[in-house]
């Protein structure tokens, strides 16, 4: 690959720019509130685990993580399950209204969450799903399903058609072909799609907050509670923030070899 002069310096400066704000958050999470408010220290001088301890022992805190992970996982499973057959159909066949349907799906990926906040609230209240992980999981489908279809379509198109034809000649039924041949072939694509569903569901707040009140409240909404009568509890806020970064960081590590292709949505 051909590169540009001074690339090492550019890369290092950019990475520092990315890491510095995150470092500051991590730094603060290990400090006591007194140290945060009274002095400016580049690293914690009296490191404490008190903030993390409070989150892990207080149910109203750690239940937020469980709630968030629950709806993210439900959403990922639903999105991939419905998107797989559709991706195959879009990749292999032409049918009435296929292009319009594809565009309509894409346009839903782009629809602003703010537009749907209020109608979703009405809809999920009406069918008694309000304040359950299912409401958030289904609501997030509006942008994750189209995205999953889009990514998987790219990966299915990378599988030569001859493989389908040979399988059918060998007497494979369609469901069997799908499960035994196609899915293993595009396993990395499914991983990438799952990664993106996870990512967009994990980072979204507006819908998740609007559709929950007590029982299914996501961690990102609980975080706003750190304002109390005694002022902001900065250390606790920072610790909660750091803990929301960790699942993402873990997931990235597992898919690091596919990240680049994945971000191109299987279209390079």
């Amino acid at each position: 690959m051909n590169t540009i002069p001074g690339r090492r310096i550019i890369m290092v400066v950019f990475l520092i720019f990315l890491l510095l704000p995150i470092y500051w958050l991590v730094n603060m999470s290990f400090k006591t509130n007194t140290e945060i408010v009274t002095t400016m220290t580049l690293w914690p001088h009296q490191p404490t685990l008190e903030n993390y301890k409070r989150i892990f022992t207080d149910e109203s805190w750690y239940s937020g993580y469980i709630n968030s992970l629950t709806y993210v996982l439900i959403n990922t499973v639903i999105s991939i399950a419905v998107a797989l057959p559709a991706a195959y159909a879009f990749s292999r066949y032409r049918f009435l209204g296929d292009k319009h349907l594809f565009f309509w799906l894409l346009s839903n990926r782009m629809a602003p969450a703010a537009v749907f906040a209020l109608p979703f609230f009405n809809l999920y209240s009406a069918i008694n799903l309000f304040d359950t992980p299912w409401a958030v999981a289904l609501a997030h489908c509006i942008f994750n399903v189209p995205l999953a279809v889009w990514i998987l379509e790219g990966f299915v198109s990378g599988v030569p058609r001859e493989i389908d034809e040979t399988a059918f000649l060998d007497g494979y039924s369609f469901p069997r072909f799908f499960a035994k041949i196609l899915v293993p072939l595009i396993a990395s694509g499914i991983g990438v799609a799952a990664f993106f569903c996870f990512m967009f569901s994990w980072v979204e707040l507006l819908l998740a907050r609007t559709l929950t009140s007590v029982n299914a409240k996501p961690i990102s909404a609980i975080m706003t509670r750190t304002v109390s009568a005694a002022g902001m509890d900065w250390g606790l806020l920072a610790a909660a923030g750091v803990l929301t970064i960790i699942p993402g960081a873990l997931v990235i590590w597992f898919v690091r070899n596919y990240i680049a292709r994945g971000f191109a949505l299987g279209r390079v």
Partner: protein, 300 residues
């Protein structure tokens, strides 16, 4: 391109259609319904026709003024972040190490901001920029620059823009990197034999190869910045005054804050329509770019 026509494929698409229709068409019909009605409270509605839409598009009314002002701010914001993130993303992609363990490290760090929940992104920058406890705010102020994103409009804008650049440049960079990776080495060798300059290599080989991914990048970045809500809301709350109130923030204020259903619904529809049009333009350009490719190959 040699897809077979098979109407039974609809059965494979049906689950997707059902799921998305449930979450898209049903709620959107509620919105259409609200946008045509007004209420005296108590769930009594009456027909208002296109009244809300007229008000929305008339800058002299309160609603219209707020909508058009936030739309203008949002377009300016989108233009600025695209102008920064796209070139910067290309530069970063070109600066990626060629091989070795550093590649994985760079990729992981680049992807990191993308997986942080949006309100935590807001929180990170809210803390980072505070003059009393944030590294950035503290450093700027001790250097003699009077920086305060809570009271100064310019500082608020600068913070929101730098935050977005921090948050999303990686996306552009990763997309471009994926495009660059797909260029065979033979192209570069050929360029070397021809004695092409670096700039010529960039213009003739790398940029054309990145065309498609750049299009995706611009589309995603435009859309996401056009509907940005959480991050600026956490950092500035739309202020100082209304200076960082973008369309989504305005909409949520009207819909969930004031519970002005009719106004919010009309705003939603116009907002959605703008997005639909932009999306369609991109989609058309993208599919055309895809269709042209094989022809070019044939000609060469």
């Amino acid at each position: 391109m040699d897809k077979t026509i098979n109407q039974k494929a609809w059965f494979l698409v049906l689950p997707v259609f059902a799921v998305v229709a449930f979450s898209a068409i049903l709620p959107l019909m509620t919105v259409v319904n609200y946008s045509m009605q007004d209420t005296f409270g108590n769930n009594q509605f009456f027909w208002n026709g296109v009244g809300w839409f007229k008000e929305l598009l008339d800058p002299s009314t309160d609603l219209g003024g707020r909508f058009l002002a936030s739309l203008g701010r949002n377009l300016l914001f989108s233009a600025i972040i695209l102008a920064i993130e796209v070139p910067l993303g290309i530069v970063v992609a070109l600066s990626m190490p060629r091989e070795g363990w550093t590649v994985a490290v760079c990729l992981v760090i680049l992807a990191l901001p993308l997986l942080i929940p949006w309100n935590v992104v807001g929180t990170i920058w809210q803390i980072f920029g505070r003059p009393d406890i944030g590294l950035l705010g503290y450093t700027l102020n001790s250097l003699g620059i009077d920086y305060n994103y809570v009271s100064n409009e310019f500082d608020a804008w600068a913070t929101v823009i730098v935050m977005d650049v921090w948050h999303w440049t990686s996306l552009v960079a990763l997309l471009c990197y994926a495009g660059l990776k797909s260029i065979p080495d033979a192209y570069y060798q050929a360029a070397q034999i021809d004695g092409a300059s670096r700039w010529a290599v960039f213009k003739a080989i790398q940029l054309p190869k990145m065309n498609r991914v750049l299009l995706i990048a611009v589309l995603l970045r435009f859309m996401d910045s056009f509907m940005i809500y959480t991050e600026p809301f956490v950092v500035t709350g739309g202020g100082p005054g209304n200076s960082t109130t973008f369309v989504s923030i305005e909409l949520v204020k009207i819909a969930l804050g004031q519970f002005d259903l009719g106004k919010a619904a009309a705003l939603s529809l116009v907002y959605n329509l703008i997005i639909l049009i932009v999306c369609w333009v991109f989609y058309t350009v993208m599919t055309n770019a895809g269709a042209e490719r094989p022809e070019k190959k044939g000609a060469a």
